[in-house]
């Protein structure tokens, strides 16, 4: 038998609320199957199993808020006999630390306009009102009779009362805890370069011109891939600092910062990024963004990335100096791609420029390595067809 426990979904998570069992005693489990849904500060997370087997018994009640490491279920491994044939002693059932009623999931949020008395409210307005503890019945609708973002923005700030779905207040607390710990413990240094990405950008434009819209690739994708390949050359930035020493990552499991409308952000991870073709990365990224927005991520995506990238995207700002997410030892920041005057072979030319920065943990690595990383990124972006 193997114990299946509440997983840790990052340095900033210490408990989760069980909201749904998707597998039941007697069900056959395959590695990667989603067994349960847990509500956390990061929203509803789909919890995956890491073994093939049979679900023997569940030990946690719906609605129970349980600390990380609590027993959720026991799994019978292939070839094992059921427990009752081995021992008549029943498995101990863990009592929930605090029982709270299951909360509605954002993914189940209705996408139609809700009718609220004689007025109507848009889904985003309803979610923000609920997050802020505002009773929508007390909001004056606009001239069209609909309560939307504009009406919410005009409200005076109120202290939160009750919460549903992804709780912005809780997420802010989680971000605050992780970032304060980072700034307290990690001696950051920053190294950055403005890189000429014209070759990559032009190559991508000509590639996308050949493709129908659904198969086009965002410029973030070759940037992410180039960074992953560069990290393979400088493995000192990929891994965790745990118990006073650096443990290099076996693969590059790259966290990608994704912002939520209305504030907050989540950095789910894609594993083995350095091996994936661009089309695969694009597909995975599209799927991740959709599920982040829908508030439904999987546990493997939130468990400990080995490095993170914060890509500001189009029409944003030139540079970001991001903060390392512990226990990682580096984070990459990428600014917008903008046309700038640039000197090429002694002549001034308009070129597409993006500023790459790397924040490193000085307990583990030095700025000189960051130079190697930036040079490697530059080289990979000069040969985009090979990415």
């Amino acid at each position: 038998m193997t114990d299946f426990r509440m997983p840790s979904l990052g340095a900033d998570m210490d408990e989760g609320t069980l909201v749904e069992w998707l597998k039941h005693p007697g069900d056959l489990l395959r590695r990667g199957d989603i067994i349960a849904v847990v509500e956390t500060q990061k929203g509803a997370i789909e919890i995956e199993v890491f073994h093939d087997g049979v679900l023997e018994q569940t030990h946690a009640a719906l609605g129970a808020t349980l600390p990380v490491g609590s027993l959720l279920a026991t799994i019978r491994m292939p070839g094992e006999v059921p427990a009752e044939q081995v021992s008549a002693v029943p498995e101990p059932i863990l009592q929930p630390a605090a029982a709270v009623p299951p909360q509605p999931l954002p993914s189940q949020a209705k996408v139609s306009i809700d009718v609220l008395g004689q007025f109507r409210i848009t889904p985003v307005a309803r979610i923000i009102a609920a997050r802020s503890g505002i009773d929508p019945g007390h909001i004056l609708p606009g001239s069209d009779g609909i309560i939307g973002l504009r009406e919410i923005a005009q409200l005076p700030q109120q202290p939160p009362k009750h919460r549903i779905g992804i709780d912005l207040d809780e997420m802010r607390k989680a971000i605050a805890a992780a970032m304060a710990r980072s700034k307290r413990e990690i001696p950051h240094y920053y190294v950055g370069s403005a890189l000429d990405v014209t070759v990559m950008s032009d190559w991508l434009s000509s590639e996308n011109a050949k493709r129908p819209v659904p198969e086009r690739i965002l410029s973030a994708v070759p940037i992410i891939k180039a960074c992953a390949l560069a990290l393979r050359k400088v493995p000192e930035f990929n891994g965790h600092f745990t118990d006073g020493r650096f443990l290099p990552g076996q693969t590059i499991k790259m966290g990608i910062g994704i912002a939520l409308r209305g504030g907050g952000l989540i950095a789910p991870a894609i594993d083995m990024m350095e091996m994936l073709p661009l089309d695969d990365i694009m597909r995975r990224l599209t799927d991740l963004v959709a599920r982040v927005r829908g508030g439904r991520l999987r546990s493997s995506e939130l468990s400990e990335a080995t490095v993170t990238i914060s890509n500001l995207g189009d029409d944003s700002a030139d540079m970001v100096l991001p903060i390392i997410y512990p226990p990682q030892v580096a984070i990459i920041g990428v600014g917008q791609i903008a046309v700038r005057p640039w000197v090429v072979d002694g002549r001034l030319e308009p070129r597409k420029i993006a500023t790459f920065t790397l924040a490193g943990d000085h307990r583990v690595n030095d700025g000189r390595l960051a130079l190697r990383f930036l040079k490697a990124v530059e080289q990979y972006l000069k040969k985009p067809e090979a990415l």
Binding site: V111, S112, P123, P212, V213, P214, R216, A259, T286, D315
Partner: protein, 88 residues
């Protein structure tokens, strides 16, 4: 299709890409990314939605004409008129 119907189509596409915005009033002249915190991925999904609805090719060089409701309606009107699909 009339320009009014095209405006509805653009709004519908935006709501489909970002269901949490369903019913939100859309200012015709403010860029979607400023109005609704649209990022590159939202925008590409929006373009894909317009492509699906209109069968227009929508090349990347024209993306800048699709960043507001008003400019998107103008652009789609122009392209569909070329194909004889719009009544003025």
């Amino acid at each position: 299709m009339t320009p009014q119907a095209l405006a509805e189509l653009v709004k519908r596409t935006l709501y489909d890409v970002a269901p949490d915005l369903e019913g939100e009033a859309i200012d015709p002249d403010i860029r979607f990314n400023e109005q609704f915190e649209f990022d590159s991925m939202d925008f590409l999904n929006f373009i894909a939605g317009l492509h699906h609805a209109t069968a227009l090719e929508l090349p990347e060089r024209d993306y800048q004409r699709l960043t507001t409701l008003a400019s998107a309606v103008d652009y789609l009107t122009e392209k569909l008129t070329e194909q004889g699909k719009v009544r003025q």
